[in-house]
């Protein structure tokens, strides 16, 4: 499927700010799941953009605005085509006994450790073990964890914020897609299943914002996506922007400036099917 996506982020400051330095992770990756056909990034006030590939192979753009300004607009225009590489939910590609192999794969190691918003904790481990009883397959265990989260956690907008830790989400049993993903990472990692965080877009979603889900590593197959918010495997309706250990690694726009704390942020995402 082909999509055209317009992702706008606007900051407005109550009084002029200056020396603003920013990092942007908005360019979707090209891989076996998707191909980026065009990508255009617009910054206002106009600034020079540089980019590099980060540790997780995401494209990161940098820009700076030294002069005083009262607003910043970041607009990303993407055309991307996707194809589904989803595993069927009932597939049994690799036995749980193969997990120790992952430990030695250097690209997996990071996704087995605690990170900023995800930790190994006894509570998460207990939930993970309970929800995966009777499974003998890595993918099946991950699917069971996803079903458990979808069934026991309530999707409640505004019940959390971007810096909410997995621990608190488990306690309050509600959150948004970011929190569902963090909890799922915590449960998978405590079972020693490598799991990473994905930020991206979901074309079928009416809400005009970014989405988050996770991928688990399946030996011989690779990284495959599961969406605990919607209880499904990731298919061609999903567009992947960036991956990391958790939200902290993929923040779409982050920056540092001098000036007032009084500011407003507005994000709009518009996704259209393209022929």
């Amino acid at each position: 499927m082909r999509f055209q996506i317009v992702h706008r982020t606007r900051y407005a400051y109550a009084s002029p700010v200056r020396e603003s330095f920013n990092e942007i992770r908005l360019k979707p990756v090209t891989n076996e799941h998707q191909t980026v056909e065009s990508f255009l990034l617009k910054i206002l006030p106009p600034s020079r953009l540089r980019h590099y590939e980060d540790f997780y192979k995401n494209v990161v753009h940098h820009f700076e605005i030294p002069e005083p300004h009262t607003s910043v607009l970041v607009e990303a225009l993407t055309t991307v085509s996707t194809r589904s590489i989803a595993l069927p939910l009932d597939a049994t590609p690799a036995a749980l006994s193969r997990l120790p192999e992952c430990d030695r794969t250097e690209r997996c190691f990071d996704y087995l450790l605690p990170s900023r918003y995800v930790e190994w904790d006894p509570e998460a481990w207990r939930l993970a073990v309970d929800s995966t009883q009777g499974t003998a397959d890595i993918w099946q265990a991950a699917v069971a964890v996803m079903r458990f989260i979808h069934g026991s956690f309530r999707y409640t907008p505004l019940s959390t914020h971007v810096h909410t830790h997995m621990r608190q989400v488990i306690q309050q049993r509600q959150g948004v897609c970011q929190d569902f993903a963090h909890v799922m990472l915590g449960l998978c990692r405590s079972l020693k299943i490598p799991a990473l965080y994905v930020s991206g877009y979901l074309a079928t979603e009416s809400a005009s914002a970014t989405h988050a889900w996770i991928e688990v590593f399946v030996p011989d197959v690779g990284w495959r996506g599961l969406d605990p918010t919607h209880n499904c495997a990731v298919d061609e309706n999903y567009v992947k922007i960036a991956v990391g250990r958790d939200y902290a690694d993929v923040t779409p726009v982050s920056g540092h400036y001098k000036g007032t704390l009084d500011r407003r942020m507005e994000v709009t995402v518009d996704i259209r099917r393209a022929e």
Partner: protein, 847 residues
């Protein structure tokens, strides 16, 4: 021990210097060999010390203490507000190693530095060592010090480890072991140099005769290496030393090194990034920076990409590094290799990477991330020193105390839960070295930190180092934070001693300059406030002296009205509490006397002379890398002078006047040094502007208080005014009559030949303003110039004579009006200067 060794040992102990010297059984003694005789490397020193005799030795030890104090060699203790700036403890007896032994240490450390540099380049590059299982992934990825944004940021052949230090200890069998690696910010090179300067001065005979190798070559290599690192091809690369600021533990040595090496000492806020290049903010604009010698921790260096709450870093720095436009030494990310867990892998890596055996062993280390090591540690918990493998909130075990059963269980549980986060090391038995006890030599446990620098021809080792001794015998851990002392380290040469100095090579063409490197804005700010505080201290001392001279404890109530203007000025400037708060100050002579003494000596009162002197010393510290040592010494002595009567304020007013007189002399030498020794560059300009502004404020404040007094025309009030304004003599030579109001006010306000008059201050400020950068760019006067023009014009148009016709309400006269307006305008002037020149120091915020 055989019969013979006991005898000779006894023989050595009959030497008076060694009477108290006891060797520690079971540890290596650096001074006495197994035969009980003084080892050859110490022979010259011991003979030298004996020749000096006990009294002279005591005197030299005292000189040592005094030199440390006078040069302000200090270190800061975190979390202890009173502990700021502890004097550095320097043991006058050097630690001495022979040439042969040193060559082995050198070879071992060079190899180790090469190895660590290669590992560093691999971990932040291809990660071959991890892929090929020479390094377990957890050792790198699980560490908070592995900075992912730096991965792949620099080409593989780059040097990552520009400076390296190793902490060494000698085991009972006489072998040296590395007990820790400092790969991020090897601190102590500044202290080492300071220690050397003091020790070589107090023991010049032994230093000369012993053939001690010089340290300067190391610093010269460091300078050459840092210039070499500039990515931009330029004949004069700009190197800056990035400091976390004056509250950092080792701020002293940062300022000291910056001065010695000739680099600007910068805080993060002095630097900024534009288009991936780093610039220094100076008074005349942005100047490119090529190399950053950093003392800020890895993750604090860039709030954008590393730790976003950091206030010490430079946003965008990592991107500038990635773009190859600036070199940071040591390379960011080096903290990773300080983990003791690496030591367990070094022998294998050394064979694999360098194809050699390790020449200098590390202390035995077990990293629990390996199954076999984990079980070994669990079985030998009591014999080992167990600690967190990585920087974390986990607490290690106090190695000096035995483990309780409960603590043991808890530790084992934690190790089982996350084995890779724990490491265990053998408990180290330190060797013992001779140390000065106040009476003679005693033996104290010693550890040695040795420094290396990466030159284009490979690593070079500083022939010396920072030796540290424990405060008591038999200790295993030495920390300057916990009462240890430093020692100079003498490496003996078996050839002639090379003579090196940091000054440029003779015969080289030099481009003549009349201006130094441009002044960073923050330093200009500090100079400005140094000037203000110096003048504030001076004016306060004068005011207090004038008050005390006019006050006697027998004074009855009627003397108070004459003191009123002085007391009101002291209230206005914060030396005395407001009358409403303490009305007895105006009625009771004893209360007033106590109040005045507190205004001089009480450190808890913000405006007291003592507090002002403290502030002055603090500001002096901030510009230390840019000003002469004498300037600093004078400020230090002033602070000491006022700190003397600590416990009680039981002091006579007469004694206090003596202290005030001495303080004024100290301040006069400060001003004299500033005037005679500072080049007329921007630093001096801001210092003088601060002083002028403050003098104007005090003068206006005093005259304003005098005009509000009902006794304003009383000759003794006028005399007090002349006295505080230091203009009595001039007045007497000019008028030869009782003080007359109009004449007095003319002299202290309008006489532009009187360096103490108000107009004189403004005229000087106008001159300074004309020379400031960026003041002439606009057609219209700047905000600061506008205020100055108003003030000067008002004064020039003022006729003081009508005031003589008034009998009361003098403050409503023209003179009174001008004073009130000037008093209102002065803060505006100060703000205008701050906005124009120091404004960038606003607070950073993260989003």
């Amino acid at each position: 021990m055989t019969e013979a060794t006991v005898k000779s040992s006894a023989a050595e102990q009959r030497r008076p210097l060694l009477q108290r010297y006891r060797t520690e059984p079971g540890s290596y003694d650096e001074l006495l060999g197994a035969d009980g005789r003084v080892r050859p490397n110490y022979e010259t020193l011991i003979r030298g010390l004996e020749e000096l005799g006990p009294d002279e030795l005591k005197r030299r030890a005292e000189t040592c203490r005094r030199l440390v104090h006078e040069q302000g060699i200090t270190y800061n203790v975190y979390g202890d507000p009173l502990g700021m700036e502890r004097p550095w403890q320097l043991d006058p007896v050097p630690f001495i190693l022979g040439a042969e032994e040193w060559r082995k240490i050198e070879a071992g450390l060079i190899q180790r530095a090469q190895l660590l540099n290669r590992i560093m380049a691999d971990c932040y590059g291809p990660q071959e060592l991890i892929r090929s299982s020479w390094l377990p992934p957890a050792l790198v990825f699980a560490q908070p010090d592995f900075l992912r944004p730096l991965h792949g940021s620099q080409p593989g052949e780059t040097c990552f480890l520009h400076f390296y230090a190793a902490d060494l200890a000698r085991s009972p069998d006489g072998r040296w072991w590395v007990i820790s690696d400092r790969t991020q910010i090897p601190t102590g090179t500044g202290y080492t140099l300071a220690d050397r300067l003091v020790t070589s001065r107090i023991l010049p005979e032994a230093f000369r005769e012993g053939g001690v190798r010089r340290l300067a070559g190391f610093y010269r290599d460091a300078q050459a290496m840092l210039s070499e690192l500039a990515p931009r091809r330029t004949d004069r690369p700009r190197v800056v030393l990035l400091t976390p600021g004056p509250f950092n533990e080792t701020y002293f040595e940062q300022a000291y090194l910056a001065r010695y090496l000739g680099y600007s000492l910068c805080e993060g806020q002095d630097l900024t990034v534009r288009d991936d290049r780093v610039f220094l903010k100076t008074l005349s604009g942005l100047e490119p920076v090529d190399v950053i010698l950093r003392r800020v921790d890895d993750d604090f260096c860039d709030p954008l990409e590393l730790r976003n709450e950091s206030m010490l870093g430079v946003p965008g720095l990592v991107e500038a590094v990635r773009a190859g436009n600036v070199t940071v030494a040591n390379a960011l990310g080096g903290g990773l290799f300080q983990s003791p867990a690496f030591m367990a892998f070094l022998p294998g890596l050394c064979r694999h990477v360098l194809g050699e055996e390790m020449k200098l062993p590390s202390v035995a280390t077990w990293w629990c991330g390996q199954k076999s090591a984990e079980s070994y540690v669990a079985e030998h918990l009591d014999e080992l020193f167990v600690k967190p493998a990585f920087r974390s909130r986990l607490r290690g075990v106090d190695p000096s105390a035995a483990l309780t059963a409960a603590a043991r269980e808890e530790l084992l549980r934690q190790i089982r839960f996350q084995p890779h986060r724990w490491v265990a090391q053998e408990k180290v038995e330190l060797s013992a070295a001779p140390s000065w006890s106040g009476e003679g030599l005693v033996s104290r446990p010693v550890a040695l930190r040795v420094y290396l620098v990466a030159t284009p021809d490979g690593y070079r080792v500083m022939p010396g180092g920072l030796a540290r001794v424990a405060p008591d015998a038999g200790g295993r851990f030495i920390s300057m934070q916990r009462g240890g002392a430093a020692k100079d380290t003498w490496i003996l040469s078996d050839g002639p001693v090379e003579d090196v100095t940091l000054l440029s090579v003779a015969g080289q063409e030099v481009e003549l300059r009349r201006v130094g490197n441009n002044l960073p804005s923050r330093l200009a700010d500090n100079y400005f406030w140094l000037g203000r505080y110096a003048e504030r201290t001076d004016a306060t001392a004068r005011l207090l002296r004038a008050t005390l001279l006019r006050f006697s404890p027998e004074s009855t109530g009627h003397a108070f009205p004459l003191l009123e203007p002085l007391l009101n000025t002291l209230v206005a400037q914060g030396q005395l509490p407001a009358t409403e708060d303490q009305p007895e100050l105006r009625t009771n002579a004893e209360a007033l006397e106590a109040g005045l003494l507190a205004a001089i000596f009480d450190p808890s009162r913000a405006g007291s002379l003592r507090s002002l002197a403290g502030q002055l010393q603090r500001l002096g510290m901030l510009v230390r890398d840019r000003s002469s040592n004498d300037l600093w010494r004078v400020l230090r002595q002033l602070d000491d002078r006022l700190a003397t009567p600590t416990s009680s304020l039981v002091m006579l007013a007469g004694d206090a006047i003596g202290v005030l007189n001495q303080s004024l002399l100290q301040l006069a030498s400060f001003h004299g040094l500033a005037r005679e020794n500072m080049t007329r560059a921007q630093g001096w300009r801001f210092l003088d502007m601060g002083g002028r502004l403050e003098r104007a404020i005090y003068l206006c404040s005093l005259l304003n208080a005098a005009l509000h007094s009902p006794e304003a025309d009383n000759p003794s009030v006028l005399e007090a005014v002349l006295d505080v304004a230091d203009s009595s003599i001039t007045y007497r030579t000019r008028y030869n009559l009782m003080p007359n109001m109009a004449a007095v006010y003319d002299l202290v306000l309008l006489d532009d030949t009187n360096p103490r008059s108000l107009l004189f201050q403004f005229n000087q400020l106008v001159k300074h303003f004309e020379k400031l950068p960026r003041e002439r760019e606009n057609a219209l006067p700047s905000a600061g110039q506008r205020v100055l023009i108003e003030c000067v014009t008002r004064l020039r148009l003022l006729d003081p004579r009508p005031i003589n016709r008034l009998r009361s309400r003098w403050h409503e006269s023209d003179v009174g009006r001008v004073l009130a307006e000037t008093l209102r305008d002065l803060p505006r002037l100060s703000d205008a200067i701050a906005v124009n020149y120091f404004a960038h120091s606003t607070i950073s915020r993260s989003r």
